[in-house]
């Protein structure tokens, strides 16, 4: 094993290293540094060790209870929107035309919500849902529903969820549509010959063939919904009470509202870690699902 030793290679890696250091490593280390300290302003810092982390994971403290409660809300939110958006996206993709000019029309309409900036989406729904002037809020109230996302927790959640479904179902639908388009016609023809019902075609051909894109869709939607900030912040501001305060909103409150840089840094590190772990789990599951294990052939 004669390896050519070429120290010049280090110089070639250096620029990338420098860029990554400035863009990622240094800021991250700053956060790590903050997370070990406490500050009362004036650029004065006091060493706190792992104190913030202990508090963060202890529900009996203020910081811990706020973090764990918002984390719970985040998980519930992600679960609900996945449960709605994935099946809905599949249904939308299945009902889209397969060819002709209508395909382009459908694709553009589906892509529209994805192109709107997040805070604009929030603003749209904030106004849309207002009981006094919003089309949705006013209509619902006129129909006799006591709908008010500012004062009612359930209404606030419903609004945020419907908003997310409106914003992101398209993504799932587009991914599924791409998966469906890649199924060769021969499969449908064979299914016709085999006398398969619509449901059997879905179960035996379409769903298995969409497997991969569905995993990608679930991953993307989970990550995005887990990090959600802008839309609920604009619509509900995290309220009423703390009912729609997700981890990211809590984080901003602590960091910028209370200027508790140490607590916020510890929280963001843990938050980051959770996302990394979930990402890794998904990635592993996905790559393993795609691996064709060599068939064991014997006999015949």
């Amino acid at each position: 094993m004669d390896k050519t030793i070429n120290q010049k290679a280090w110089f070639l890696v250096l620029p990338v290293f420098a860029v990554v250091a400035f863009s990622a490593i240094l800021p991250l280390m700053t956060v790590v540094n903050y997370s070990m300290q406490d500050t009362f302003g004036n650029n004065q810092f006091f060493w706190n060790g792992v104190g913030w982390f202990k508090e963060l994971l202890d529900p009996s403290t203020d910081l811990g209870s706020r973090f764990l409660a918002s984390l719970g809300r985040n998980l519930l939110f992600s679960a609900i929107i996945l449960a709605i958006e994935v099946p809905l996206g599949i249904v939308v993709a299945l009902s889209m035309p397969r060819e002709g000019w209508t395909v382009a029309v459908c694709l553009v309409i589906l892509a529209l919500p994805l192109l709107i900036p997040w805070n604009v989406v929030g603003t749209i729904w904030q106004i849309f849902g207002r009981p006094d002037i919003g089309l949705l809020g006013y209509t619902l109230n006129s129909l006799g529903f006591d709908y008010n996302y500012v004062s009612n927790e359930f209404d606030a959640w419903a609004t945020v969820i419907v908003m997310d479904v409106w914003h992101w179902t398209s993504l799932v639908a587009l991914l599924c549509y791409a998966g469906l388009k890649s199924i060769p016609d021969a499969y449908y023809q064979a299914a016709q010959i085999d006398g398969a019902s619509r449901w059997a075609v879905f179960k035996a051909i379409q769903l298995p063939k969409m497997n991969r894109v569905l995993l990608i869709a679930v991953l993307l939607r989970f990550m995005d919904s887990f990090m959600i900030y802008t839309e609920p912040f604009v619509v509900t501001g995290g309220g009423p009470g703390n009912s729609t305060t997700f981890v990211s909103i809590e984080l901003v409150k602590i960091a910028l509202g209370q200027f508790d840089l140490g607590k916020a840094a510890a929280l963001s590190l843990v938050y980051n870690l959770i996302i990394l772990i979930v990402c890794w789990v998904f990635y592993t599951v996905m790559t393993n699902a795609g691996v064709e294990r060599p068939a064991k052939q014997g006999g015949a």
Binding site: Q189, A190, I193, D194, A196, L207, E292, A300
Partner: protein
């Protein structure tokens, strides 16, 4: 199990109003008898697959009717027609085992469970798939997958016909031979009508008892392999079937004589009246022309090369401007440039505008 009749069946992918010449399948009327083993032979793009898809109902014809046992089934969907089809590339249901794949067409039709099981076992047995029955179908080789596709086509006992659309394309040559003989055996055993599409003449001739040759959207001849070989109804059949193909040479034909380059070849039959203005050619298979030493009574030709096929040698020669192939008799040492040709008059056919003219004995 049924007799299939095609009545003026025609199809164009650009609609019924398309010009007649652009039709993928030009009007055809023919009958496929119950229990027959048919091959649909022709070059790529000649309309074989279109014809097959019309019979199975994947494509709806622009014109004409399809009858199963005299009942018009043209408007019926594929599911409602009693037909099975195997495609060029394996289609398997990924999430199912091999056994479930084979059972799928039966289950969808509500066949009782015990019967499904028995039939699946029988088919798996015939195709050597028993070993894999409980295995997931995704992880098998292309060969095995295509066997599953074949199995799904054969598993229903009540189908009017099983259609094969070049099913052995993805299979290794070695296994191809085995599977083809297997299909032939299955045909005898299961008593199903089989229609087998291929562009490979060996495949067609070994599988079928009736070969239907298609060319440019038309059925040009349908007959036994021997008929296609001995008496091609169309010059296309002549050179498409056989290797090397039939020699087709322009000639002047009158009575019992054909004249090529002023040289006279005797004919077995009398061709009194030929269509006026038609392009007259004679066709003769290389197997029925021998090369000989040049002599005054023989049509002379220039040698281009000799193809030695082991059992037999063919001389590639030139008669005037026309390319020609002829048999080299065993033991004959071929001269350098010029040879004479000895024709077997019984196997010289006359074609007018590419179609066979029947002479009078």
């Amino acid at each position: 199990m049924a007799r299939i009749d095609l009545v003026d069946l025609a199809h164009s992918y650009s609609g019924n109003d398309a010009p007649a010449e652009s039709f993928a399948l030009k009007p055809v009327t023919m009958t496929w008898r119950q229990g027959g083993a048919y091959a649909l032979l022709g070059p790529s793009g000649c309309g074989k697959t279109t014809l097959l898809n019309l019979i199975s109902g994947i494509v709806t014809p622009s014109r004409g009717k399809i009858l199963f046992d005299g009942t018009d089934i043209t408007p019926l969907s594929t599911q409602k027609r009693n037909i099975a089809q195997v495609f060029q590339f394996p289609v398997i249901y990924d999430t199912m085992t091999v056994g479930q794949n084979l059972a799928f067409p039966l289950q969808n039709r509500g066949v009782p469970k015990a019967e499904v099981e028995a039939r699946v076992r029988q088919i798996a047995d015939l195709l050597d798939l028993t070993f894999y029955l409980d295995r997931k179908a995704t992880r098998l080789t292309a060969d095995a997958k295509q066997k599953i596709s074949l199995g799904r086509g054969l598993v229903r006992s009540d189908v009017a016909a099983v259609l094969f659309d070049e099913p052995l394309t993805v299979i290794d040559p070695e296994l191809k031979w085995q599977l083809r003989s297997k299909l032939k055996a299955l045909h005898r055993e299961l008593d199903l009508t089989m229609i087998y599409v291929t562009h490979d003449q060996t495949e067609a001739l070994t599988f079928a008892d009736t070969v239907v040759v298609m060319h440019d959207g038309r059925v040009v001849q349908s007959g036994t392999p021997a008929e296609l070989f001995d008496k091609p109804a169309h010059t296309f059949v002549g050179y498409f079937i056989g290797s090397p193909g039939m020699n087709i040479v322009p000639a002047v034909v009158s009575g019992r004589e054909a004249r090529i380059d002023g040289h006279i070849i005797g004919l077995h039959r009398n061709y009194g009246v030929l269509p006026a203005g038609a392009k007259i050619e004679i066709g003769v298979r290389p197997e029925f022309v021998n090369v000989a030493a040049p002599a005054s009574g023989l049509l002379s030709a220039t040698i281009e090369r000799i193809d030695d096929l082991g059992r037999v040698r063919f001389a590639r020669i030139r008669v005037g401007d026309a390319k020609f192939a002829a048999r080299v008799p065993p033991g004959f040492s071929v001269p350098d440039n010029m040879v004479g040709l000895v024709f077997d008059p019984a196997h010289v056919h006359v074609y007018a505008d590419s179609r066979l003219v029947e002479g009078v004995a």
